[in-house]
């Protein structure tokens, strides 16, 4: 098994062969992937070395110290956090070879075609159809997806579609990789509460997906999707941030810099939120330490819940603290951003955008159900749809 020392040596060799100062960003990232230093816990040849996941920190620290370019994980979050582990877990050798490298380097952005107008929290109710063309063996996909973040920049999508409407909803779903350049894919911006359009509606009309782009077995899509969703939640917590590194930072700064804004009521609320933010940060740190020590706890399930609430409360307080300035907004221009940039914008934006934190990636209500049932073991909700064919469900 590779140890920290050897990883350090390999990282230094990479830096020597491709000095960041004189190497093109994309070339450096490709070389890093090929050296197995992209995600060290991935297999050899796929950007990794089969090393323990905890050792990634060794590589990252060396590269950061050397000023090496990074692959902009925030811009490629869906690919990195969700598509990649699913391709790794369920893909064929060809699929892994084809998709993982450009995904990791950021040459190809991914999006997630899961939610539909009629299937959000109840994702397994989805109705987008994939029908096998007897002649070519391709799948022909028709339907509508919605709230698709980054569909406007994406090259590929992870897609779940119904392949057998006669089975109960969880059993008739298959998982695909969809080519976003297919002529049948139409992406329409959905303008958001913030003014910009970060997510989209996606209309799929006779989109042809070759069977070689199926992930996992026909009808096993729900199981594959569980891997994606689990990784979605894990990738949200467990990041190392400094004290005041989250949304509390700008508020604390405004409080310190501008004594004229202070009131007693705001002071009480600020202190309480500062405590909550710091404790949430420690919980994230504890989760990270557990992962490194190879003893993941259930903490991750709660992290997103906590952060959503904190972001909303803190940004709400921030707008109020700013008083007259809080009555202004920086820019309502319709834009098509590539990523969510909380700190690059002003308080009003943070306030509005953070409302999505308790909806995207599973609503807070749904996450509370998950904690109650999977962590605390409380009885599940009564389910009336479990054994009914999807086509017979009320819609």
């Amino acid at each position: 098994m590779i140890d920290a020392g050897e990883l350090r040596t390999r990282t230094r060799a990479l830096l020597e062969a491709h000095p960041p100062a004189t190497t093109d960003r994309a070339d450096f990232l490709k070389a890093r992937f090929d050296a197995g230093l992209a995600w060290v816990h991935y297999p050899e040849g796929l950007g990794g070395l089969g090393a323990p996941r905890s050792l990634q920190a060794v590589v990252d620290a060396e590269l950061e110290a050397a000023g090496a370019p990074d692959n902009d994980p925030r811009r490629i979050g869906i690919g990195l956090g969700m598509a990649a582990p699913t391709v790794l877990g369920f893909g064929t050798e060809e699929q892994k070879q084809r998709f993982l490298r450009p995904l990791w380097t950021g040459e190809e952005v991914w999006c997630q075609l899961f939610s539909e107008p009629g299937a959000g929290s109840d994702l397994a109710a989805l109705g987008t159809r994939a029908v096998r063309d007897a002649e070519s063996g391709d799948w022909v996909v028709n339907g509508q997806k919605v709230w698709t973040s980054s569909a406007h920049t994406a090259r590929w999508a992870i897609l779940i579609a119904r392949t057998d409407p006669d089975l109960p909803k969880h059993r008739g779903i298959t998982y695909f990789v969809c080519d976003m350049t297919d002529p049948g894919v139409e992406v329409r911006p959905l303008r958001q509460i913030t003014g910009e359009a970060e997510f989209n509606e996606v209309f799929l009309t006779d989109v042809r997906v070759p069977d070689a782009h199926r992930l996992g077995e026909v009808g096993e899509g729900w199981k594959v999707a569980q891997t994606t969703l689990m990784n979605e939640r894990v990738s949200i917590g467990g990041m190392r941030i400094p004290r005041e590194g989250g949304m509390i930072g700008p508020v604390a700064k405004a409080w310190r810099d501008r004594p004229e804004l202070r009131t007693h009521d705001l002071h009480q609320r600020l202190l309480k939120l500062w405590v909550d933010a710091e404790v949430a940060r420690l919980t994230g740190e504890r989760l990270r330490q557990q992962l490194v020590a190879g003893q993941p706890g259930p903490e991750g399930s709660g992290m997103k819940l906590g952060f959503a609430r904190l972001n909303q409360e803190i940004s709400g307080l921030e707008v109020e603290l700013l008083g007259e300035e809080g009555l202004l907004y920086d820019d309502w221009t319709m834009r098509r951003p590539e990523l969510v940039d909380f700190v690059g914008r002003e308080a009003g934006y943070r306030y509005l955008r953070s409302k999505g934190n308790s909806i995207e990636g599973g609503t807070s209500e749904v996450l509370l159900n998950i904690v109650a049932e999977r962590v605390l073991g409380l009885p599940a909700e009564p389910r009336t749809d479990k054994d009914v064919a999807w086509k017979d469900l009320a819609r």
């Binding site: 007693h264 420690l282 962590v375 409380l378």
Partner: protein
């Protein structure tokens, strides 16, 4: 960054303490103890003996050369988690943590001798400062005159079971006073928390030995350790409340369903779980900061109290409500937890006081 996990040794310690408490400190025993005649004192002496003479736990914070275990606040915090989970009527926090820490700040042979006595567990000590006092807040003292103390102090936790009191006097010094001697009267008060009751203490020319000229620093250190490690006790309380309530709501049927299957309850319990998870991080951080003598220890202690105190109260209040009528009875132990949690929320400073302390420490000044 602090180490927020439990080591294998700490987990082993937890198991040992939990096993002992399961045998010796079930709810019925705690309740019987609370109702015992005042003459028997507030503590479960047998349990204390098992924890101290049997397991050496009173000496965790005392260096080995003074007869202690030379362990750290991390281990003491684990013990307090388990004692909180059992609402154990023993003077661990007051004697083995707060009085011990105050003595550790004193130096000198008098304090060393007392530390050895407390570490052995045969002597119980209490810092004679009101339980509600936050670290850094002003505290009452008594008059020192010609080698003896005069005056009254109120709100002293576990004083009724203590052999030695550490008493701050108006000359700025901290004195050691035997409770069994002439001129000392300890008057137990009927307290909200049956398991950690308060007493008033009067001194009428009570003989006293000086421990340090700097009572302020010693008291501050004792109270800070008390506040920081109280968070671990509060974690134990909250965990018991959550676990018991989850168990009960899974079993209790109404409307032909377990009441724990109703989403309104599931969400409340899931919220509580998240609070408990956060409390563990805050409590571990505080214990680790003290153990490492970190420059962040003041922040860590204040943060832990500002967060953990309301969580323990919330957990106990939710536990009572979700148990329905049975939660309102004397036989069901939930009231012991509510009383302890509520008293704990005032002990060593309320959450609000700790937030005010943070305002100074992290430079978020009041208007």
């Amino acid at each position: 960054m602090s180490d927020l996990l439990y080591s294998e040794e700490e987990e082993a310690l937890r198991r040992a303490v939990r096993d002992l408490l399961a045998d010796r400190c079930d709810a019925a025993t705690v309740l019987a103890r609370a109702e015992a005649p005042a003459a028997e004192g507030p503590h479960d002496r047998e349990l204390w003996k098992a924890l101290t003479e049997g397991m050496g736990l009173a000496g965790l914070l005392v260096p080995e050369e003074l007869g202690g275990q030379g362990a750290t606040h991390r281990e003491a915090a684990v013990v307090l988690e388990e004692l909180g989970r059992a609402v154990a009527p023993v003077p661990y926090l007051t004697s083995a943590v707060v009085a011990t820490e105050a003595l550790l700040a004193c130096g000198g042979s008098e304090a060393a001798e007392l530390l050895s006595a407390l570490a052995a567990g045969r002597t119980v000590g209490a810092l004679a400062v009101g339980l509600a006092t936050a670290p850094g807040a002003p505290f009452q003292d008594v008059r020192h005159d010609a080698g003896a103390l005069h005056g009254e102090l109120t709100g002293i936790a576990d004083a009724a079971g203590a052999d030695i009191l550490l008493v701050p006097a108006d000359d700025g010094a901290l004195y050691a006073v035997h409770t069994a001697q002439d001129g000392v009267t300890v008057t137990p008060r009927t307290s909200l928390d049956l398991t950690r009751p308060l007493a008033a203490v009067t001194f009428e020319a009570a003989a006293a030995r000086e421990l340090t000229r700097g009572a302020d620093a010693a008291v501050r250190r004792g109270l800070r350790a008390g506040a920081a490690l109280l968070a671990s006790e509060q974690l134990g309380i909250a965990e018991w409340c959550l676990t018991e309530t989850v168990r009960y709501t899974k079993e209790r049927h109404q409307f032909n369903r377990p009441v724990g299957s109703f989403q309104a309850l599931k969400h409340r319990l899931a919220e509580l779980w998240l609070e408990v998870v956060n409390t563990r991080a805050a409590a571990r951080n505080a214990a680790d900061a003290l153990a490492a003598d970190s420059t962040d220890a003041d922040v860590a202690a204040a943060l832990a109290q500002a967060y953990a105190a309301p969580v323990a109260v919330h957990a106990a209040e939710e536990a009572l409500q979700l148990h329905g009528g049975i939660g309102m009875t004397w036989e069901h132990p939930v009231h012991l937890y509510l009383k302890r949690a509520k008293a704990d929320s005032i002990a060593y400073g309320t959450a609000g006081r700790h937030r005010e302390a943070l305002a100074e420490l992290v430079d978020l000044q009041a208007p």
